[in-house]
Amino acid sequence: MYGWTGKILRVDLTTGQCHREQIPVDLLHAYLGGRGLGVRLMRDRFRLDPMDPEMPLIFAVGPLCGTSSPTAARMACVSRSPLTGTIYDCSAGGRFAWRMKGCGLDAIFITGKSKEPVYLSVYGDLASLCPAGELWGKGIKETVLLLQGKGSVAAVGPAGENGVLFANIMMGEGNSIGRGGLGAVMGGKGLKAITVNGTAPVAISAPERFNEARNDVMRLFRASPVIFGELGIAEYGTPALVDLMAQRRMAPTNNFQSTYFADSGNYSGPAIRKEFHAKKDGCYGCPIQCKKSTPDHEPLPEYETVNHFGALNGISDLHSIVRANSLCNELGMDTISAAATLSAFGEERGRFPAVEEVPGLLYDIAFRRAEGLLLSLGSRKFAEQRHRPELSMTVKSLELPAYDPRGAYGMALAYATSNRGGCHLRAYPISHEILRKPVPTDRFSFSGKARIIKIAEDVNAAVDSLVACKFAFFGATLEEYGELLSAVTGVEYGPEVLKTIGERIYLTERFYNCENGFSLADDQLPGRFFTEPGTSGDGIDVPPIDRERFEEELQKYYRIRGLNEDGTFADPSFLERQP
């Protein structure tokens, strides 16, 4: 077999058993890997409560991982989110995926709950559960240090151990499996960490064809101003977007009360580079190296993080933003949800957190004490319990990232339809509404957006299953990645075939959600966006979103997806018809 290893490692934390199984080839062909494979493997358990011991926590790589396919040293982590209640996946880079594939695995499937803290060690063909009593309670850096020499590490910090609903699983290299609280699922199982250490090579079916496809991808990367342009993400990381979002008047500020923060230049890409002597860093073998770190290898914050610990909380001090980022990483918490929850807390009490308050609040959240006990449940539960539900800027309980939907109507629709809640990455319309890739669309128009969002959701579901980085698609397309995949696996995949696979994955996720009670009522934006304008200026008018037009487009989306008017499935046997 080329590309895939065909193997899954099943780990039962309750019994302490680990064993390898063969994955049916048909499933690999139909779901690729990563998100798609993980979602398929959830089929028998998607109704379980996220914290049920039998709820699986799945790590899955893709067929391109282990090759020199650009940006493909990634994996997906899949389970059900304790924050949103939806099916959940998160794509993550670093070295873990590559090392895991090197152990001859396409997936690790973890169920059960250990009585005592353990870590899973996978070393080549061997897998075992080891006591982790000494690691429990430790922060991420110390945990990684104590596991040094055992390969690449994925671990939870205090937030995951204590059940913070937006706890991350952190990779040893500083990457994170973020947003939906899968760190709480892992911590709830008594699993402190996973180490993987393999170097087995991945066989490529057609090496010459692969090299040509790789050259095509790299040529498109070089032709993309967003990727390799002198102002692009390879130079400045995602904070390259700070100035752009300010100029476009769509930087969420003060819990989305406004869309422009006058001091955002303090934490722009150039400001971070200057202040912290930012160096290029990134995932294994990735040519883009969009992550930025200090000369001491301390990861520097992404765009979402600087905006949310900045404008969203009215903070302009770069050093405090960087400290908050580092603290979240160390405690194992999602920066977007943490900052957005603090922002809702700030609006509720009539005062956003002062710079000096932030670290203490973050500790309180991670250790679930004092104010942090309620804040650890995320902004929705916090706002509901304070009888101010309108202050939670979430969709399906997931805190919205740093693109105000009043400034990009495709983004508004995509937040609503996202299967994992208020996420920018499912359809990623910022790519065309703001960054003009592959072609520009009118950001203040809903025209055509229902179809565009549907197509993009399908494309990105395939991308997350290859697994490749979405940033690659600021330059390349499924045409080139389909060619890479065909060359690696020896199975022909064109863009249209990949979109069909993506559609299958997307609908499967939606079906799981609908079976768990999700419907039109959950595909909604916070009311603020329909009643309050953004911050107009510089010749840009940012009115409230027209609710009627939004709902009309949402219904179009349902029709295109073949769903009922309430967003559910007409066909209860949908899953039975899927491979």
């Binding site: 070089r222 100035d243 703001i434 520009p440 055509g448 295109i560």
Partner: protein, 389 residues
């Protein structure tokens, strides 16, 4: 979406890339819309309904070059390999279907090919191009295939001459009737740019429009900039040269802001050219004859195979330097700035032309001159081929 269909139908007519009565566009949101020639509209709708994409253009090109390329291809060939850098980078290859291969309803065959590529050529039908997310994208892909087949056919003619019945007559018609004289005559330019933002933006918009209206370039192929007061004003990536209003980024020369992340992929080349030459304006386009002639290299015994990116030599065409270099962060930004100052223009192998000036009058005239020279040189070589030694 209907307005988009009307807009790009009109563009296909005004840019003279399609026969006005043989154009159809299909687009789908929650319903499928089609417009244009009845038979082509039905075909466009049938193809698009088989694709997970938003729009599709089916049109018969105004020139028969794509079909001639099919006719000249050997029986075992099934696609055309573009030679110019731009389309090579974005299209990779262009599949074609011969007339005898077509089923009674060819929509499934065409959709299958479009499942892997942005555009295809269907003998007897025309160019079929898909837009994944917009009608504009389908139009761009149609334009790219038209551009690519134009360049490839004329290149092949120089190398091999006429081979098909009726080919020469069609070509003569193209030469004598389709081609129009290129000139800057009658155009108004600001002699001096004031340094005021609005004046600069207006002048960029106007000159961008000129390049398309005069037939110098196709609307999506090129970029344009002005340097003034520590700022480079440059057209955005994927901006249409004849519709630049709101699509020009002000980029501080010191990179103190990253708002220019949406600027043209050639921003680096523009910046280096400004630094190297002290020019005030830069115009970059892909005039077809310059693209064709730039790829005509008569060096014998050369071992370089990927000339378009690896050739280190500076050749000349009518005195204008020709250099190799990939677009964006590839080699173009390194190789153009050192050579463009001497003559005010430079050609990039298989890609296009850069010209500079104190104002756009100079830059525009220089681009017209380069293209006119290349056009006449092309026909001179076609009329008087060098004897085979």
């Amino acid at each position: 979406m209907k307005d988009q269909i009307a807009k790009y139908t009109s563009k296909l007519v005004s840019d003279r890339s399609a026969m006005p009565e043989r154009i159809a566009i299909a687009a789908q949101d929650d319903v499928l819309l089609t417009a244009g020639a009845d038979d082509l509209a039905a075909l466009a709708g049938a193809i698009l309904s088989k694709l997970n994409s938003l729009a599709l253009v089916v049109a018969r090109p105004s020139l028969p070059f794509a079909e001639f390329l099919i006719g000249r291809a050997s029986a075992d060939e099934s696609c055309i390999l573009p030679q110019d850098t731009e389309t090579r980078t974005f299209l990779h290859d262009i599949p074609f279907l011969r007339r005898e291969e077509l089923a009674a309803d060819p929509s499934a065959q065409i959709a299958r090919l479009l499942g892997s590529r942005k555009g295809v050529i269907v003998e007897g039908v025309g160019i079929v191009a898909v837009g994944a997310i917009t009608v504009e994208q389908a139009y761009i892909n149609y334009s790219s295939v038209f551009h690519s087949t134009f360049v490839k056919y004329l290149q092949d003619l120089l190398a091999e001459g006429f081979r098909l019945p009726g080919e020469q007559e069609s070509f003569d018609s193209f030469r004598n009737e389709w081609l129009r004289p290129l000139s800057a005559e009658g155009l108004e330019f600001r002699e001096e740019l004031s340094g005021h933002r609005d004046d600069i933006l207006n002048e960029i918009e106007r000159v961008g429009r000129y390049t398309v209206e005069r037939g110098l370039v196709d609307s999506f192929f090129g970029n344009i900039s002005v340097q003034a007061g520590g700022v480079i004003y440059i057209s955005q990536t994927a901006a249409s040269l004849d519709e630049l209003a709101g699509c020009i980024d002000p980029v501080p020369t010191g990179n103190t802001s990253t708002t220019g992340i949406t600027a043209s992929s050639e921003l680096l080349a523009h910046r280096k050219i400004f630094e190297e030459t002290g020019a005030t304006v830069i115009l970059h386009g892909h005039p077809k004859f310059a693209v064709i002639m730039s790829m005509l290299c008569e060096t014998s015994g050369c071992t370089i195979t990927d000339c378009w990116k690896d050739c280190p030599h500076v050749r000349t065409l009518g005195g204008t330097p020709v250099v190799a270099g990939e677009i964006g962060a590839g080699g173009l930004a390194k190789r153009v700035p050192p050579v463009i100052g001497r003559t005010g223009s430079a050609i990039v192998y298989g890609h296009g032309v850069f010209t500079i000036g104190e104002g756009f009058r100079d830059a525009f005239a220089a681009m017209v001159d380069v293209e006119n020279f290349c056009r006449s040189e092309f026909f001179r070589r076609l009329d008087f081929p060098a004897p085979i030694s």
